[in-house]
Symmetry: C2
Subunit: 367 residues, 2 copies
């Protein structure tokens, strides 16, 4: 299935990001009449049996994709991951006044800044002294902490956790926004996982929360009812009107992942795609440079710089002319970022690598 455009476009955006074209095509076909109903999923009431079945199927499929045990609730929430930066402390602190946070880059820092409005933030580990070029492996957990928070993949910095220390009885909370559904997860190691949808899940706005049932019921009294994990768990994520269309699209994407071989296949694909790209960077004799230590390089967001930084705008413009778009690095980091989410075809990575080779050939004399 191809889009009606020449040349083919490959979208390396960090989020909202590329979606499977077969999913978009199905959504397109049924946009005016979903499942023979004569109305769009956008127009379908959330209280009716049709949407309830979609919601249940989507939840069941996620449970199956990630082997989520029965003592974990799956919530479909509003607000995006940034809302969870506040909602995690509001819902989980209980009587505690502190929480552990692992500082690993731009997004964990943002999370910590927001959390510090609700509690004492103990920096249990940090890689700031090496400019976030790796994940910290020595953690000093606070025995009085309510939980320990990690950002499993730092989208802006391009660094990812592959080996997470054990937090024992301390509930491990993970912002998995940018690597959710890219690989299997040992759910039982976590107390809570949250993920904004706009990378591997679906449309921006939808947020998935997976929470172990013993962590419910600790919410601060000022937590808005619709953002209280317990009330939403009890209401099956229907306390207020859910993001109906986003949940429907997410269901199509879960189905696509299952059909492609599940998260195990997604892990193989993203590992291979990112390895090829990192290899092209490392083999460029310093023309391109990735500052992240090899063992911690993200399979989702490949961040690199050009040795001659003055060439970066030209690199980005030339790439865009070849249909390789949204490659600009995060504003706080600069350089180039190629996000390789599940829906990025291998041919996109091949096209990018070819472009990078040609760009070196044309410009290596400027270095």
């Amino acid at each position: 299935m191809e889009r009606l455009c020449l040349p083919e476009i490959f979208n390396f955006a960090a989020g909202p990001a590329v979606m499977p074209v077969t999913v978009l095509a199905q959504a397109q076909r049924e946009l005016l009449s979903w499942s023979g109903s004569g109305i769009s999923m956008l127009e379908t009431p959330f209280t009716g049996d049709a949407f309830k079945a979609v919601l249940k199927q989507t939840r069941d499929n996620l449970r199956s994709l990630l082997n989520i045990p029965e003592n974990y609730h799956i919530l479909f929430m509003h607000g995006g991951a940034s809302a969870q930066f506040s909602l995690v402390p509001l819902n989980l602190l209980g009587a505690a006044d502190r929480a552990d946070y692992i500082e690993t880059g731009y997004w964990s820092r943002k999370t910590m800044r927001e959390a510090s409005r609700y509690c004492n933030v103990n920096v249990a580990a940090s890689s700031s002294n090496t400019s976030f070029d790796r994940m910290p492996d020595t953690w000093r957990l606070d025995p009085g902490a309510a939980y320990c928070h990690i950002t499993s993949n730092e989208t802006a910095n391009g660094v990812q956790f592959y080996d997470i220390p054990d937090t024992n009885d301390l509930p491990l909370v993970a912002d998995m926004t940018s690597d959710f559904l890219s690989k299997p997860i040992d759910i039982q190691r976590y107390g809570l996982i949250y993920a904004g949808a706009q990378k591997n899940i679906g449309p921006a706005g939808l947020t998935i929360v997976i929470i172990r049932d013993d962590l419910l019921g600790r919410a601060h009294t000022t937590t808005p009812a619709v953002f209280n994990y317990q009330t939403q768990a009890e209401a099956g994520s229907m306390l207020n009107t859910p993001l109906t269309f986003a949940i429907y699209l997410t269901g199509l994407i879960f189905h696509w992942i299952a059909g492609m071989g599940g998260v195990e296949a997604m892990a193989r694909n993203s590992e291979q795609r990112s390895a090829r790209l990192y290899q092209a960077i490392d083999a460029s004799d310093g023309f391109y440079h990735c500052s992240i230590q090899p063992a911690y390089r993200s399979h989702m967001n490949v961040c690199f710089t050009l040795d001659n930084n003055a060439l970066t705008p030209f690199f980005l413009n030339s790439a865009a002319k070849e249909g390789l778009i949204n490659l600009k690095g995060h504003p706080m980091v600069g350089g180039v970022r190629a996000s390789l989410y599940n829906a990025m075809p291998d041919t996109g990575v091949t096209a990018l690598i070819n472009f990078m080779h040609h760009f070196v050939e044309k410009h290596h004399h400027y270095v």
Copy 2:
């Protein structure tokens, strides 16, 4: 423009609700490649110029549609109107410990229940003693209140404000979820207006907040940053990833409203459509009955009962077989509810009235 279905379907759902078919058709056409970009609006990064232009245009068009003065901010928020039940007190109470609420039906009661978790709720007026068959016209405002909250249209009960008493210096806050964009609004009478999108605006999840600038900066310290009116106003609703696709669709709907003659035309249409339907109810010799006082009957949600209530399920099933769907009343109210939002074609109301006539002819001997 017609959908590919026979017979034609008319969707009377209270929300998510019918959308203009030309808008859906445009969204369908460009779902895989928006505006020649080669990518879907669902895949378009929110930080890029393309989406920023969509957001600005959508905001500007709303300002123009409703003549919103420059000292009002327009925010595109996450969470739906139910989130605002908490976010209004969190953002507006400031040092005050109380607020006025006007009790007019199911939704205002829900709002008040949530607000009472944050402040003393003064019931400044109520129509509960007449079973919410009208809007209360005598209000006893509390001089210590931070604001006065109304629900401009009660979706479940089918009762609507047409004449709102003056609150003078007390900021008037209105949940306009179910009649927003159905008529002109004298914005300057309000301190804050909010509306969930899933009636006349766009997809569920998106929430529009219109706030006078002097009301910013009063948020309680525990207000999540992404739900703080001031921080979102300063960030142009881009503090976190906005609901990009919902905002795009909303923009198409604003454009459609403007092309149809603006909110003045929407007001004429909804007045005429609802008048025809109420007239059919009132002319049925008691077969159908609307309990709402004529001066307060909603132009958006026409609620009625069958004198022989045992016939209601049969009425609903028979209507659905004729393509008149989602007519079931709110579970807390029962009976029949025909929601006549902007996108409901006049032919839908004609079809419903014809069906109601035929139903009387067939079943009047059972009354």
